[in-house]
Amino acid sequence: MPEDVYEVLSLGMRYWFILLGVLIVWRAFGWLRKDRREKHRRLRQLPDAGMIGELVVLVGSDELPEGTVIPVPREGVLGFLRTCDVVVPVPGVQDHHLDFSFRNGQGLLIQPWRGCTCQVDADEMDHHSKPRRYPMHHGSRLFVGDAVLRLRVFAGLDVQRHVAYMEDDAPDIPETQEHQGQQPSAVPEKWLGPDPQRVRQIGYPPERWGNQPEAWQPYQQDAPYAAPAEERTSPQPGWSTQPEAWQMYQQGAPYAAPAEERTSTQPGWNAQPEAWQMYQQGASYAAPAEERTSTQPGWNAQPEAWQPYQQGAPYTAPAEEHASTWTHRDATAEAWSQDPPAETDDGQEDDWFDGDVNGEFDYAAPRVRRRRRSRDET
């Protein structure tokens, strides 16, 4: 093409290129704005996006009152400063106190910063503790500074394997049903000490095994660790008033609160004094017949179950209801046969947790309900 013609064409086309350039920028920024709106909309629908659970304040301070729910991201730092991912403005908590990170199958792993200490349930730890990162599970209590926090993990997250580890890439330990709840059995004929690889996976100091070789064999098969008697220095209240329970606990029995601590807020005790007496003696709460007006579906499908339920038997869902949204149950077969707390079953707030600081539970409420609760309370 002749140069002068090309020059004219090129001079004309430069406006076209600028127009397209401006259009590209305009559309790119329009896209950014649209995505920003979309992101805000999705976060309004999913305020728990990116969170793995909540820390409920059991003991706090004026700035962090009891009952406050703090959302927990997948990874972050817990400390006093506002820049931390989980802010705990309570005396005794350092500016940056501990790191935490959630891993499927292992729980919320925590590691105190240098010079900081904390306690998970009965286990104290500092920066140099073994295992370096200690797992917290659904229901674990965290003592940090003067604060006591309880972890609640959202449904749908895998926190089944209660195994500590020392290294980042520790091999996964398969947990099978037959291993759960296995009791110590026979003492090995010749005690050769713990398997170093297994100790490394579990992260428990090998010197302590020396105290109880009989626990070693089942433990190697993934049974839970049972502490020897001299280690059973529990911070639980009530031991002083029930020395016989303390003795049993030292022999391996679970903690049972003394009668005077059993001041339940459950209604219905007045209507069934005989149940109250049993409860005081350690039985679990069973609602009286007149309170048993359940909203559970499925009664129509199994009228034969209604009668024993009214007489105190736990609710058993019919087979067609077994598509539960309680994912904790999906993951633990033995939990499926257990009954959920009645408060969560009828769609109300799951206040089964409140006040029961020392209680044991393994139910993880559905995510949606937890989200609403978190939003209301924080």
Partner: protein
């Protein structure tokens, strides 16, 4: 149109369509200049590569289409400008563009598939330091810096490759609070770069390390100390190295030595000025009078050919990439991924600022390339790898958000969660 309808509309098609029309018409115009069939091939090939890069890739994984569109636009703009000035460079650049797209996909999969980067990082550290030390042994000095080495006819700039491993190692070590690990590695890299006299890259590494440290720790005090240390090092460098003094003097007044040391910057400023608001026209003007027009001064060529308005558009595209990168970093669920995305964004942003600032005489000129646009295989591939790492984190974020939505929907509808 109602607002809801507007929000439902897919914005990727009009944007990608505009990008493709831009390059098709631009290469068609260059074809009309001398009827070279290569321009016609590029008029078809470049929009096809853009289509593959922006429309096909998101079918493999949840990719960020906006980021892909902008990155592809800038890469193709580099090919276009190089073809208009020196077609031989353009063919090579188009090849590197294809290689870079493959490398980008590999990086996306690496981020998505590697669960723990610990072992990778400890492997990368000695390899990166050895690679960075190679030019000191077998390298050749170019423009005052000994930062290249040659394998046959292939020239390699290791600092561009090590840039990626620096970001990965810093992200891993900072997310795990391994202070001395990242500090020793960063100091090692900076030391080697200083020995090579590659001050521009050293400045980039230093700035990115410092800002990533601030992002990971929120420690304003130590970051401030680091900044003061950097300023002190810059003053020392000014007093110790003659060529640094010369660069600063040229920056302050290039006209003192206009036909020698100040020639580059004066030619660059004259090109930008002669382009004016709307440019001199594609394929017109005298861009080849600017020294190193194909690498360091390619922004001056863009301004001369397309005008300052278009140059501003290019700048705004970088701003959009940085905005997007920061959004991806803040949405990441794991601190490693967040820091990696932030590091990639900072690297792209700082590099763009350093080179465009140098070209328009805002700051002293340092020899770094303009990300995605400048000629150079190592530079283009490493820039696309940075985009790939960003894309990988973005796709993981999207996976996580989809999983959250699925769980919430399953809870609401009472479906079984698997």
């Amino acid at each position: 149109m109602k607002r809801k309808d507007r929000e439902k509309r897919d914005l990727s098609r009009p944007l990608i369509g505009t990008v493709k029309v831009f390059f098709f018409s631009a290469f068609l115009l260059l074809f009309l200049k001398d009827f070279a069939w290569q321009a016609l091939v590029l008029a078809v090939a470049v929009p096809t590569m853009i289509h593959l890069g922006t429309a096909f890739l998101p079918r493999l994984f949840p990719a960020d289409k906006l980021l892909l569109s902008l990155v592809n636009f800038l890469c193709a703009l580099g090919v276009l400008v190089l073809y208009a000035t020196n077609p031989a460079y353009a063919y090579q650049q188009a090849t590197y563009y294809g290689v870079g797209l493959v490398a980008m996909v590999v990086c996306i999969y690496l981020v998505r598939l590697i669960p723990s980067w610990g072992a990778v990082c400890y492997l990368l550290m000695p390899v990166s330091l050895a690679l960075l030390a190679l030019p000191l042994v077998i390298g050749k000095e170019t423009y005052g810096a000994k930062n290249w080495f040659y394998i046959g006819s292939l020239s390699v700039q290791p600092s561009e490759i090590v840039k990626l491993s620096l970001l990965i190692i810093l992200s891993y070590a900072m997310s795990r609070r391994k202070f001395f690990t990242w500090l020793m590695f960063a100091v090692g890299c900076l030391g080697l770069l200083m020995l090579q006299k590659d001050l521009g890259t050293a400045l980039l590494y230093y700035g990115v390390t410092l800002l990533m440290y601030y992002a990971s720790s929120s420690n304003l005090l130590l970051t401030g100390v680091g900044m003061l240390g950097g300023a002190g090092a810059a003053v020392m460098g000014y007093k110790m190295f003659a060529h640094v003094k010369k660069r600063v003097a040229i920056w302050r007044n290039p006209w003192v030595d206009y036909d020698n040391a100040g020639y580059q910057i004066i030619q660059s400023l004259m090109a930008i000025a002669s382009g004016g608001l709307f440019g001199m026209g594609l394929g017109l003007g005298t861009p080849r009078t600017i020294p190193v027009y194909h690498t360091d001064f390619i922004f001056a060529v863009i301004c001369e050919q397309f005008g300052v308005v278009f140059g501003l558009c290019v700048l705004l595209m970088y701003v959009a990439i940085i905005w997007r990168g920061a959004t991806i970093a803040m949405a990441a669920r794991r601190s490693f991924h967040g820091l990696l995305a932030m590091g990639c964004t900072l690297m792209i942003g700082l590099q763009t600022f350093v080179i465009i600032g140098g070209v328009i005489k805002l700051i002293p000129l340092t020899g770094v390339t303009m990300p995605f646009v400048s000629y150079g295989g190592t530079s283009l591939v490493s820039s696309l790898c940075l985009a790939g790492l960003l894309q990988g984190v973005a796709s993981l974020n999207e996976d996580d958000l989809n999983e959250d939505t699925r769980l919430a929907m399953a809870d609401e509808t009472g479906e079984e969660q698997t």
